[in-house]
Symmetry: C2
Subunit: 471 residues, 2 copies
């Protein structure tokens, strides 16, 4: 990760033709047009000149804004000056598209200069054949350390870790450590703590850099190291690791293999990405959208969304069968057909509210012991109170609209029923899915709306049928 | 923030009666029961013994699991041993409840020992009277620095910043800096970089600690400092600051006042909280849930959700008026009432998919220039293709169910219409709200489902009326 970048946040930033971002923090369209013109004309030197001051993250943003041909032209014109870590900042579809277009030897050269975590992020989505070809073109040490990371399961801490770190024996003094750091040329780009290990690379303690700087030269490292260790298993899921960072305000954590040997470190910047992706995934799953990016093609988007719509079609047909049971009832009182979507719609909304709060609480591990019971009780009571409020409102509206107070009572009773059911289903369905180790964000919405639709139509048409003697 | 905590992640963790967390990373219920027993018996020493090894974040989790009286007992029995930074880790309702129960003098004592960002987080939600009483009980220096933070707008960088930082003149050498750090007793608890400032506290550069450690003693600080500065305006929104951390993989950033003077620093741990809250807020707003926690009371929950349900009631009644226009049509063909929710439901789902992707893309600033046009085109085409797929499916189902191929054609045509409209509305509505500076996550869902319901019922009943000559 390079740190050559110029950015100023805040209102004092001035807008210039040559500025990279405008006052709204968007990429300046004039800047972008100039780059496009340089790319079209193949002016490699000018391209290098405008791209040079950008941080890798900004280069990633630029790549996402360009067309397919322009992206390729940018990488080719920059040549050795293209920082491959920018590829860790773009959507997967764009990364794969570029990797397919570039020769493997070229990719190997670009990846060789990266921190291991960035290199793994670029290589992990490639097909095995390409992966092997690129790896075999790398120096032995790099190849082995990347291979080891890639051998860990997808989304594990081992995949995200950086294999460069600084380790020291416990009997060194602070002075020895500082002398070593001053003399050694091959240090990681950035580091926040030093790992104190025994001869077998088992971690004995950690030493944040500020402690090194506060201590006298003669101080033994073991006397100032932090021994309350937080270590992450390499095979562990990255989400678990991210949760530890979040909970304990960590900046860097050691990763150990199955024998307890230190094999790498996780840094907060990678964990921030995991946390963001995680929340993003929950939002999208709740809405029936899979792992989808704005740069996906039309075909990929149809393929990713159609299955969710198909499930919804099945449940919608099911709901319609329930309505079909009351064909005769509707036939003798057409107002029922006009009013029935109201009860179902309110139930769907109330259910979605409870479900969303529950899904998030599960994801953030907020439901333990007594809290869970309290929440279930609360949701049922909330459903009842909201049910009463909206029963009265819709009852009055219906009465006025059809001059039929009895129809108002019927729809009000159906409303209370459906909102209590919505609250109950909204909390119990995600909890049950979680109990059975399913991701509650994926399937809850379908189940909850099916329940509130079925109960909404059934309660309203059923109560109406009984009340008005229509069966 | 204390770092006295014992935690081991990963499968090797063993379950013991006395372990704080079980293998699933949940708080051990046996441990909790023991604490409850100690609290009930008022055994202060035992309470202190079991709480002492916990990190502030874990103390926060414990507070959330306890009942109101137990929480208060815990804080009282721990007395001076209670680390007030734990209060930054609990839901707002619990924090306020505790603060109301504790005397202001006691709070002042607890807050005095904290980093300024934690103290502000605890004080900012209090009523001004209590705030002033607590502030006036603090030593002058603390009081002034907290007051300055509190004067910045809510959710600004100035509110989140820590006012403790290390600054150095540019002409110092690395050796002078290290000697200063070794001699000075009153340093921040943790720090990741040093700020190089001029006499007016204007930032000239930053110096990550690893650069200090790599450099020779005689090296001038200005020769190794990082001059590509990222600074945040104190008045700026915390989300903007968090986006900078995320984009540029930062760990610490300086905060400057309107005169460009360094007044504090933001650290990544606070920004992680902002990022998480932000995503959480988007999820909840999309589902019509406000700023709500699982520990909110029933009354607060009803009050926070009822307005959203009220808006939904209005739109549901509107939709029902549209259906009412077709009362005669439904009366002469009751199958229409049975089938009509299917088209509306599919449109609602497809609209929610597009809307969610759009809202997230807006939140993550992924829609600029050409990308936006591409996305709008894609969503309309995706709507058309999914429309055709599900038109054929529902057409066949309807044909078979009612032995009426014409009804199949009608529902298919309505399906294509509604899914194209859903895709278009799903992207244009959030974009329009964003253009008018409204938060698209708040209002999009209501508008989009209203559109897909109205169009769904209108298209289906309208096409049916025309096709079968029912008007």
């Amino acid at each position: 990760m390079s740190s050559d970048f110029e950015t100023e946040l805040g209102p004092e930033t001035e807008m210039e033709t040559s500025a990279f971002r405008d006052a709204e923090d968007r990429i300046n369209s004039l800047w972008l047009e100039r780059l496009r013109a340089f790319l079209a004309a193949g002016r490699a030197e000018d391209v290098a000149l405008v791209m040079e001051p950008l941080h890798a993250a900004d280069v990633g943003d630029v790549l996402e804004l360009l067309d397919h041909d322009e992206r390729l032209a940018l990488v080719r014109l920059l040549g050795e000056k293209f920082d491959y870590s920018a590829l860790t900042e773009v959507d997967e579809s764009i990364r794969l598209e570029l990797m397919e277009a570039l020769p493997n030897a070229e990719i190997a050269r670009g990846v060789a200069g990266l921190d291991s975590d960035d290199a793994v992020a670029i290589l992990e989505d490639l097909e095995e054949e390409d992966q092997n070809e690129i790896l075999s073109a790398l120096p032995t040490f790099e190849r082995l350390s990347l291979k080891r990371s890639l051998d860990f399961p997808e989304d594990s801490a081992g995949r995200r870790m950086q294999t460069e770190f600084i380790a020291t024996p416990p009997f060194w003094t602070v002075g020895q450590m500082i002398d070593y750091l001053r003399a050694e040329r091959d240090l990681p780009d950035e580091f926040y703590q030093i790992y104190v290990v025994d001869a077998g690379y088992k971690v004995l303690g950690t030493l944040p850099l500020d402690r090194v700087l506060r201590a006298q030269r003669a101080t033994k490292i073991e006397s100032i190291m932090n021994t309350n260790l937080v270590l992450v298993d390499a095979a562990e899921d990255q989400e678990e690791a991210a949760r530890a960072f979040e909970r304990y305000d960590l900046v860097e954590v050691g990763v150990v293999d199955e024998n307890g040997r230190l094999v790498g470190v996780l840094t907060i910047d990678d964990m921030v990405d995991v946390i963001t992706e995680e929340a993003d995934e929950d939002i999208k799953l709740l809405a029936g959208v899979g792992d989808e990016d704005v740069s996906d093609t039309t075909f990929d988007t149809v393929r990713s969304r159609a299955p969710w719509l198909a499930v919804n079609l099945v449940t919608a047909v099911l709901v319609s069968l329930v309505i079909g049971l009351f064909g005769g009832t509707i036939d003798s009182m057409v107002e029922l057909a006009v009013l029935m979507p109201i009860v179902a719609s309110m139930g769907g909304n109330a259910g979605a509210q409870t479900m969303t709060v529950t899904v998030r609480a599960i994801a953030m591990r907020e439901l333990e012991g007594g809290r869970l019971r309290r929440l279930i009780r609360r949701e049922m009571v909330v459903g009842f109170f909201n049910g009463v409020i909206f029963a009265i409102l819709i009852g009055l509206v219906t009465w006025l609209r059809y001059s039929n107070p009895q129809l108002g009572v019927v729809i009000g009773m159906a409303m209370i029923t459906n909102l209590v059911v919505a609250g109950t289903a909204g909390i119990l369905i995600p909890l049950t899915l979680d109990r059975f180790k399913a991701d509650p964000a994926i399937a809850s919405a379908v189940f909850v709306t099916t329940v509130t639709d079925v109960v909404g139509f059934f309660a309203f048409l059923g109560i109406a049928g009984l009340w008005f003697g229509l069966f």
